[in-house]
Symmetry: C2
Subunit: 333 residues, 2 copies
């Protein structure tokens, strides 16, 4: 109880190194793992160490707005790089701003589009980072929750130059208010990272880390993830079935891919802002796609998540959403 | 489990506001309390919001080196301001660097000298802050552990202009690896602080906060602090008695005041570095006073703490320290 290591509780770091090697192909030892309070804090720490004000950072477009805000809070100039069905397109990035210092990517589970970064794009991104001396921040969240397609190992597993910083979070795997995540940092950065952590906030809570460590090493985590996969599959089935029945003509849902959300593309004549707002008034929490775009514009759509809604809540929500959209459609010219 | 507030768990903030009003005279509501992972993280957050690179910051001289390091990591120019038996001397600060942006102070329990900032000096500091538009970061750690003199209310209780940021830490009251502390922030800063926290690391662990909240509201904290006071008193008695018996002629101990350490002033001819080093080799962990000074020089001395040593360990440590110092003295010219 009386002390802690700046990198985090060693048995937990060992359990994590073991787990991500086996499940994600991440190449590291416990000495390269740093425990944090989650992805936001992980990127914050790395941005403090790696970014200077006005540095350019590539960000997936569309992408998670919390990350964009954080990068901007660091004084970075965020450059949106378009994502298509193969993930972020490095060629677009090179054309828009070749000499960025950092890129934030979600290779296994793009938020919000749910696509996976293709192998070819992965290699292109690593080539670019090596050429430009740029860093790649790989957010591997929800990588174990895949509902279509073949899982790919982490981008970090392909990195031979020490450019990739790998991040994941137990706040997403277990529960949001846990506040434990981790980074895998290239070996040549680890001393700087440990020194920074030590001066910024010393070390993470040891009781929390020790508890999580037991949870992992006793096999509960694996069991939990298996149960969650089944649960989310059931929720997606409910969502897709209800959508076919009630949303036809108003909204077309993308297929579940990686991650816990799909995009509901709005039918012509239904405005995104209005749909988002009126859904919210009915207690249906969505994200308007335009809230997640940076430099591009996209067709009107709402991000629909199954992460925190019950099966019954999803059925009811879809019916209510259908009423909202029907009203909006009937008013369309 | 699924969400948290950027300022922290509200029932805990309420319990804290209640407790510090009663025990420390701090004037605040739960709306001005922010839960952090401890003092280091608290100052880090405030420094990010309040300091620009090259800003001057007054720091108690001698003072806690972890704070000096953190301020320098923010690019601040740290100005040491001499501490005497009445605490930090504002007049010295005005002469050395009138227009500092921030001052870090431990008014109720100066580290390492154990003195208390006098009422006159408190008022002078508040006047200066108001004149210069400076911020006062009040670290009120260990304020309930006082072994001599009359307790004073927190400096914050005298502040009428919203210049004082009050900080305290449960890592010191309970155990180091807990990682929970808090700030009381002037009302006009709280929105900025909440926004920054939200983008930097979202919110603190809810289970930890809820547990601590129960611990406080059920009266365990009060009982714990009472027991700790008795325990530390016993340890100080042991230290002072052993010192009278074994250290006479080698080292003169300051009287316990506020906080869990005293200064052992070395007799002439005994070098501080050598004494510190050879004590460490015997497993006696001290801090050389010169490691804590910034711009001044002080007589040779070691900081001796009772916070993590048992009564038996203290007796044994003092005897071993006496042997080390006797050897060093016998070699003196």
């Amino acid at each position: 109880l009386t002390h802690g290591e700046p990198l985090g509780f060693r048995p937990l770091r060992e359990a994590i190194a073991h787990q991500i090697a086996a499940e994600r192909g991440v190449r590291c030892t416990a000495d390269e793992v740093l425990i944090t309070s989650g992805t936001q804090a992980s990127l914050d720490l790395m941005a403090r160490l790696l970014l200077d004000p006005s540095d350019r950072v590539w960000m997936e477009d569309p992408g998670y707005v919390g990350i964009t805000s954080l990068l901007r809070a660091h004084g970075a100039e965020v450059v949106g790089v378009e994502v298509d069905s193969d993930g972020i397109d490095c060629e677009v990035g090179r054309r828009r701003c070749r000499s960025a210092r950092l890129v934030y990517v979600t290779p296994s589970c793009q938020f919000p589009l749910g696509c996976t970064l293709s192998l070819q794009r992965r290699l292109a991104l690593l080539d670019w980072a090596l050429e430009e001396g740029a860093w790649i921040f790989e957010d591997d969240y929800d990588s174990q929750l895949r509902f279509a397609g073949r899982p790919l190992a982490a981008l970090q597993s392909l990195d031979t130059s020490g450019a990739v910083i790998y991040s994941n979070s137990f706040n997403k795997m277990l529960f949001t208010s846990l506040r434990l995540g981790f980074l895998v940092v290239p070996e040549h950065l680890i001393d700087a990272v440990a020194a920074a952590r030590s001066v910024i906030d010393r070390f993470p809570s040891v009781p929390d880390q020790a508890t999580l460590c037991e949870f992992i090493t006793q096999g509960h985590m694996e069991q939990h993830m298996r149960r969650m996969r089944e649960l989310y599959e059931l929720r997606f089935e409910t969502l897709m079935r209800s959508a076919r029945r009630y949303l036809d003509g108003f909204m077309e849902l993308s297929s579940p891919g990686a991650g816990l959300q799909v995009i509901g593309w709005l039918a012509p004549g239904i405005g995104e802002d209005e749909a988002w707002h009126q859904a919210a008034e009915q207690g249906i929490s969505t994200i308007a796609l335009s809230q997640l775009t940076i430099d591009r514009s996209m067709p009107a759509g709402l991000v629909l998540g199954v992460g925190s809604a019950s099966v019954r809540g999803i059925s009811r929500g879809v019916r209510q959403l259908a009423q909202v959209l029907r009203r909006l459609r009937s008013r369309a010219p």
